[in-house]
């Protein structure tokens, strides 16, 4: 059953991505001021949204783990954190490429860039903590605590660094601006690609989840073998 869901989602994500790439590359015109490079935003913005959905899911799953101690929730937390961290890396990389073309520099200590980097570091430390603990129950518990701390921190970081300095382009999606900032066709393309990336992310999480469950099973067998 799970197998089938993964294949269906993967197929849907692939079809959507092909369709979106066609629209983005061949249908939509170049943007007036930025030229062709603006197309990077069709991946940049949806990746950012996907990665935050993933971090939020990891935080919630971690809280549920602490309440129920069900190892499944720990597996969900680690799977979505890892996948989200990959999306966060995409956000940082695409952002840097865009900045190099438009601003002429790879990196600037702007509010959103800085917060994204802090966020990346926080969740990288989550993965490092997991590697440092051998006992599975303890690992699950401690990393759940860290995940909750990290997500709370991400919110504070975004608020505080926004006060600090902002150079990043302002919000463009009409749910944030009330409309009129962007060509509706372009905005639609962003949403379509968001759907594609969320589906793609979900597939990755499901695959990672299955792998995590197998790893647990193998660990259990290995310990059993040592005990005998």
């Amino acid at each position: 059953m799970r197998e089938k869901i993964i294949y269906i989602f993967a197929a849907a994500a692939a079809v959507l991505l092909v369709r979106n790439l066609y629209v983005i590359l061949l249908v939509l015109p170049d943007e007036a001021q930025q030229g062709p490079i603006y197309r990077i935003m069709f991946f940049h913005i949806p990746s950012a949204i996907t990665c935050f959905i993933g971090f939020l899911a990891a935080g919630i799953s971690s809280a549920i783990y602490l309440a129920t101690k069900n190892p499944r929730n720990d597996a969900i937390a680690v799977a979505s954190t890892e996948v989200s961290l990959a999306f966060a890396t995409v956000v940082l990389a695409t952002g840097s490429i865009w900045a190099r073309i438009i601003w002429g520099i790879w990196w600037t200590w702007d509010a959103r860039l800085t917060s994204m980097l802090v966020c990346w570091l926080l969740y990288a430390s989550y993965l490092m903590l997991r590697r440092a603990i051998d006992e599975p129950t303890q690992r699950a518990k401690f990393s759940a605590v860290l995940s909750i701390f990290a997500f709370s921190d991400v919110i504070i970081v975004w608020k505080s660094i926004e006060w600090w300095r902002t150079q990043h382009p302002g919000p463009v999606l009409s749910i944030r601006t009330g409309g009129g900032q962007m060509n509706p066709a372009m905005e639609a393309a962003i949403y379509w690609n968001l759907l594609a990336l969320i589906l793609f992310g979900l597939v990755l999480v499901l695959v990672r989840l299955r792998q995590e469950e197998m790893r647990r099973e193998i660990d259990g067998m290995r310990q059993m073998a040592h005990a005998i």
């Binding site: 101690k69 647990r216 067998m221 310990q223 005990a227």
Partner: protein
């Protein structure tokens, strides 16, 4: 209040998928002394730590006089003596005992501390830093720390293992007195002789499960290996 001092039923403890304890059920009425016997790694320490509230059972129920081990009432009743002495090297003997007396909410911490220094023969060195104590003195201080708050349930993990003769003497006298006063003892041990002399009941723990459980019999005293030979796996 329950009339069973230590009660655990259907206790499982998993580390990941590995069951360190499998379906352990034990009942110890007040005034009894249960010796948990078994090889290293059988799960005795894990079980004692769950009874003492250091660790939570994955499944099953544990109660100390009807309370869960993490509840304040249960923790007040428990005296735990583990592998470490749980005594601060940087503090003096008296300071250590006063610290624990305060944490246990005793009405007169200093009086209780002095009383127990006397009982364990440490009055002379009460202001000395524990760092400078000999091994035997540290162990006697640990015994004082565990008994200080007048616990009704004593959980002892390998209590006789690292002790010198004098500390063994002090501990055995205290434990015998405790049993006479109707307190309850659960101890893990692989040194059968000292433990079996005190024990009223024994439980053989093997691979996280209870292989045998029952009253201590004279044959066990005569031949400490009897239990292993009879009920243990080869």
């Amino acid at each position: 209040m329950s009339d069973v001092a230590v009660d655990c039923s259907g206790v499982w403890k998993f580390y990941g998928d590995f069951p360190a304890l499998r379906d352990i059920s034990l009942e110890v009425p007040p005034g009894r002394c249960l010796a948990l016997i078994g090889r290293n790694g059988a799960g005795k320490t894990t079980l004692l730590r769950i009874l003492a509230g250091f660790s939570k059972a994955t499944r099953g129920r544990v109660s100390i006089f009807g309370n869960q081990p993490r509840e304040t009432d249960a923790r007040r009743r428990i005296g735990f003596l583990g592998h470490g002495i749980s005594i601060y090297d940087e503090l003096s003997a008296l300071e250590n005992l006063i610290l624990f007396a305060r944490m246990y909410g005793l009405a007169e911490p200093k009086k209780a501390a002095l009383e127990w220094l006397e009982l364990t023969g440490l009055t002379r060195v009460r202001d000395g830093l524990v760092r400078e104590f000999s091994r035997g003195m540290r162990q006697r201080l640990a015994v004082a720390r565990a008994f200080l708050h007048n616990p009704s349930v004593l959980l002892l993990d390998e209590p006789f293992t690292a002790l010198d003769d004098r500390a063994i003497g002090v501990l055995q006298a205290l434990l015998q007195a405790a049993l006479r006063e109707g307190r309850t003892i659960v101890m893990s041990t692989h040194q059968l002789r000292e433990a079996l002399e005190l024990a009223t009941d024994v439980a053989l723990v093997e691979r996280g499960g209870v292989a045998y459980q029952g009253p201590r019999t004279p044959e066990m005293l005569a031949d400490p290996g009897w239990l292993y030979a009879r009920y243990g796996e080869s």
